[in-house]
Symmetry: C2
Subunit: 289 residues, 2 copies
């Protein structure tokens, strides 16, 4: 593969924050000829055209991928199998499919068996995002200074892998190679668990009606910041929770053990243990600043 | 009380983020003559002088409050009783003491019985903060656009209360009157519980060494933002957890019920229940944006 990259036609399946931002980054870098968007919501696709996120769109996946050199799948994880099936008739030989799914094991299981010989799949996951969704949320610098985890399998073509790595590099992200199982456990820890915690926290506090008034109105900046990720797209997170179940349950149980230990320390008023618990956490947190 | 406020001498006991920021706000507004700081750490007090947070300092609480019209207690909650005892010999008749403690029930119990007649106590809690601490962390606009909860008791002098409310107004905060019990429950929900959750989350993820490497290094902006409050001062939070135990335990149990419900939904793969759980949370969260 040469040092420069040019993608004649790029198909973005799912023109939201993730798909739209990759398109904008590659357009800004001048490495892509035409970007074809595909999605279900017409208003979102029209908006994407208006904002220059894509050049044209179709709602038919097979039509969207026709003639495409690279196809980026950025729809909720559970739809990736169906959408791959739907686009099969349009795929050209040598096409490279990659995805942005937050779970890799189940996604690979869904997609790999469907693909004809000569069509390449590179499973990927850019570690970036905001709590916003839709084409309007997309921006060219979302991936800058981030990492994109790639989880090649035994079937992954090395040249296709190199091209996808290069593509993410151009978007601003460092490519990191990782096994799919490790990816799914690491993400369960640093992303999926925190979302489950934030969603539970907002529900717990929001449902606390001891005073029959909305106590959330008293919440200061800290609470708002802390719970921002609880505003993330419920469909996306339903799919992640369903497809990364085992690793997520393992981490939820790990969290419960720590939370329960802390609750015991609070209940028994163990000042020293409380201090140690908080200090350990502060040190771990400060180390990743 | 007149519409304008002038505090001839203000004593700040504990010159950190909370105490220092009030001093800076009142200095900026030109409503304070002299600010005397008091604390245990000499380097921090020297820094506070250098930064113009206070005008002079002493490490003796009785000396610090001598001649002071208003005294603001901003040390960790559990020290407030001791510090009040220590300053008793210096208090002038008519002095007004107020505090910034995150817990009100125990603080009132500690302080009120100690005070001589003619010295006024107005329990308060400005709902503002960052994860930073020390005089260097203080800034004049910390309280702008925030609320300060005041929890007067049967013994609280109405004029002293009005003066403290006015003082916070000048610092930029709206005064909100609330019973001490309600304050402690509301704060347990919107502040103390989220801190316990964040501390537990960082410990749980940081202790997950399945791959014998620091997986926190993979954490993107979301995790860093979400866990910022886990960098807060461990001593301050030890004291809060010890002094607001009952309300905190109640909220921790409330959270555990929701988290456990969610875990069951993840385990059973109930897509519809997961979607509803996430959507409810998103709606609650978006309503406080």
């Amino acid at each position: 593969m040469s040092e420069t990259l040019h993608i004649g036609r790029l198909a973005i399946i799912g023109v939201g924050l993730i798909g739209g931002s990759l398109s904008l980054a590659l357009k800004e870098a001048g490495v892509v000829g035409e970007v074809v968007g595909c999605g279900r919501g017409k208003p979102n696709l029209e908006k994407a055209i208006e904002l220059g996120v894509i050049d044209r769109y179709t709602r038919d996946p097979a039509e969207a991928v026709a003639g495409a050199d690279v196809i980026f799948l950025a729809t909720p994880v559970k739809t990736l199998g169906t959408v791959t099936e739907e686009m099969l008739p349009g795929l050209k030989p040598g096409a490279i499919i990659t995805d942005g799914g937050s779970v890799k094991g189940e996604v690979i299981e869904m997609i790999e068996p469907l693909l004809p010989e000569g069509v390449h799949f590179v499973p990927g996951h850019p570690i970036a995002g905001t709590e916003n969704s839709g084409a309007e949320a997309a921006f060219a610098t979302l991936y800058r200074g981030r990492r994109c985890i790639l989880t090649p399998t035994d079937n992954t073509d090395p040249q296709a892998l190199a091209l996808v790595e290069k593509m993410w590099q151009i978007a601003g992200s460092e490519g990191v190679m990782m096994g799919q199982e490790k990816h799914d456990r690491v993400l369960a820890a640093i992303s999926h668990l925190p979302h489950m915690v934030a969603y539970s926290l907002v529900n717990a506090v929001g449902s606390y009606d001891h005073y029959e008034e909305n106590i959330l109105e008293y919440s200061a900046g800290g609470f708002r910041d802390f719970t921002r990720i609880a505003s993330s797209d419920p469909i996306m997170w339903r799919d992640i929770a369903e497809t990364n179940r085992d690793a997520l349950i393992e981490m939820m149980e790990q969290f419960e053990r720590f939370f329960s230990e802390l609750k015991d320390d609070v209940a028994s008023g163990s000042g020293e243990k409380l201090f140690e618990f908080f200090l350990r956490s502060k040190q771990l947190r400060d180390a990743i600043l």
